[in-house]
Amino acid sequence: MPTAKVSTFRPDLSIVQPRRKRFSAERILPPLILFPSMTAILTFVYIFILITVWVSLSRWGTLRIDWRLRDPWFATYGQMFAMPRWHADLRNVFVFTILFLSGSIGFGLLLALFLDRRLLGHPIFRNIFLFPYALSFIVTGIAWRWIFNPETGINLLFDGLGINKWLTSIGAAPFKPGWTTDPSVLFSINEALGHVFPEAKSISIHMGIPIALIPVVVAACWQLTGFAMSMYIAGLATVPNDLREAARIDGATEFQVYTKVVMPLLRPVTVSTAIILGHVSLKIFDLIFAMTGTGPGFATDVPGIFVFDQTFKATRYNLGAAASIVMLLLVALVIVPYLWRNLRRN
């Protein structure tokens, strides 16, 4: 059988599409236009970070600038990690992050679900809950500081509601927490840790939940639950109704529709929200600064404030720089995987 010869037909497209010249405007303009912004970012972000790393390793610990490296070069970090205040900072930022994330994501999800079920009148409530996001952390900090003042504030509310009267009548102590002035730490796990790491016994601060952090967590949740709620509302909107209908037809109860269909589909939203809120909480500074400062016994100190204090008040620049680099590493741990996944997809 004669084989048909397939001629390789290559139409000359240059008549239809002008051949892009190597140096045409279209090829160099885009990178050129981006050049200023990228240089700015390159400098102001990356080069500055490198400079800060250098500072953290240098001898610059007083007002007089000294760029020489310390000997051993990691001495500042060693110093820092030996400070009880730094231990408190790390504990606080972790505790804060965990509580804050659970609170804001939990409530955000709940609120979004309520709105989804039309349990609350739709647009108005969404706007009310999102409103605090528009405020400065300073404003929030100040207002909540006032509310949580242990002399009165919320405690007065408890009085007014008759809770304390009832408590004293049954012989219990009245419920008047010291809130931000209370240096005690709940659920201290130093003992437990001591069984695992013998060195843990020498940690001078309690590893638990400082009571003083709770008002801060409440304030932060108040401010950012609306954000979580918005993310969930958007996420819920992408759950196709047909899917829910199909589940119902298959005999699922409303509750099952939610737990087996909707929630798994919301998982990416939860991850995104957790990462964004997580990185905010690791960096937190304004809110705590305005609300409590460092707190009794460093109960509310966080690395953000530590950097500020060391750099601007104590002029121990290398210590401040070291702390900020640790902050950066913590944030990067959270953000880089997220960015990697998201930008790969695009």
Binding site: A25, E26, L29, P30, I33, L34, S37, M38, I41, L42, F44, V45, Y46, F48, I49, I51, T52, N127, L130, F131, A134, L135, S136, I138, V139, I142, A143, W144, W146, I147, E151, T152, G153, L156, L157, G160, W222, S230, M231, A234, T273, L282, K283, F285, D286, F289, V307, F308, T311, G320, A323, S324, I325, M327, L328, I335, L339, L343, R345, N346
Partner: protein
């Protein structure tokens, strides 16, 4: 709820303010607190405006240009560049404070409002570019193709085709940046050490820390500081939400 506390306390007279009466409505409405707060915060309000408006305008412009390029004119390596850019949005600003201050001192912009504007524009580049880029990505590429066939180059396409379409995005970015810059505290307090030129967030914090000031003034001050962003939120709320979401949820 705290908003209630803030507004109500601000309206109370000085004598009536004490922590024990916090939850009660003011027995006598008094604007005294607000007047005092206004008097003290007034110059700083001007600083904040002087800072926020240029910063927002420039951020939007650069963000739009960058977003346009990243969305429509991809070249080899542009995705990596974009990733580097966006990472800049997440860094803790504490980690670049020290070199930043030195740099500003070198170019004689330390302690000036324009220095702070520059800072906000640069560090706002990532988020603004991100929002614009997501926005432009949703505009069909065919439009760019059509413009190119009509003979328009990179710049002309932007100017004549993209910009008019981008107005909603400008509103979103404008609102978002305005809120961020207005509410900022860290850069304000570290770059402007002179209380006279500090933005209003820093001034408010100082106000609340000083012992000679009554709480009703502080609360009134908080209300005043919160007002611009609150107003923007109330009037243009849906753009706000769009800004939030387009910056965070991808795809």
């Amino acid at each position: 709820m705290p908003i209630y506390v803030m507004v109500v306390t601000g309206l109370k007279q000085a004598q009536n303010v004490s922590l024990s009466t916090m939850w009660h409505l003011p027995t006598q409405l008094s604007g005294g607190g607000f007047l005092e707060a206004w008097r003290r915060l007034y110059p700083n309000l001007g600083n904040s405006l002087q800072l926020t408006i240029p910063a927002t305008v420039f951020s939007s412009i650069f963000g739009a240009i960058n977003g346009y390029i990243f969305a429509k004119w991809k070249f080899r390596g542009s995705n990596t560049l974009f990733a580097l850019l966006v990472f800049g949005m997440f860094i803790p600003y504490q980690s670049i404070l020290i070199p930043l201050i030195q740099f500003l001192e070198q170019i004689k912009l330390y302690g000036t409002v324009w220095g702070l504007v520059l800072v906000h524009v640069i560090y706002g580049l990532p988020i603004c570019s991100l929002i614009f880029r997501n926005f432009f990505a949703n505009i069909p590429d065919e439009l760019v193709e059509a413009a190119r066939i009509d003979g328009a180059g990179v710049v002309k396409t932007f100017w004549l085709v993209m910009l008019p379409l981008a107005l909603p995005a400008f509103v979103v970015v404008g609102i978002f940046q305005f809120t961020n810059v207005w509410n900022d505290f860290l850069f304000g307090v570290t770059i402007l050490p002179n209380p006279n030129s500090q933005p209003v967030t820093v001034a408010l914090n100082n106000l609340s820390g000083s012992f000679s000031v009554d709480w009703n003034v502080v609360m009134a001050g908080a209300v005043i500081v919160a007002l611009p962003t609150a107003l923007i939120y109330i009037l243009l709320g849906r753009f706000f939400v769009r800004g939030l979401l387009s910056g965070s949820v991808k795809g």
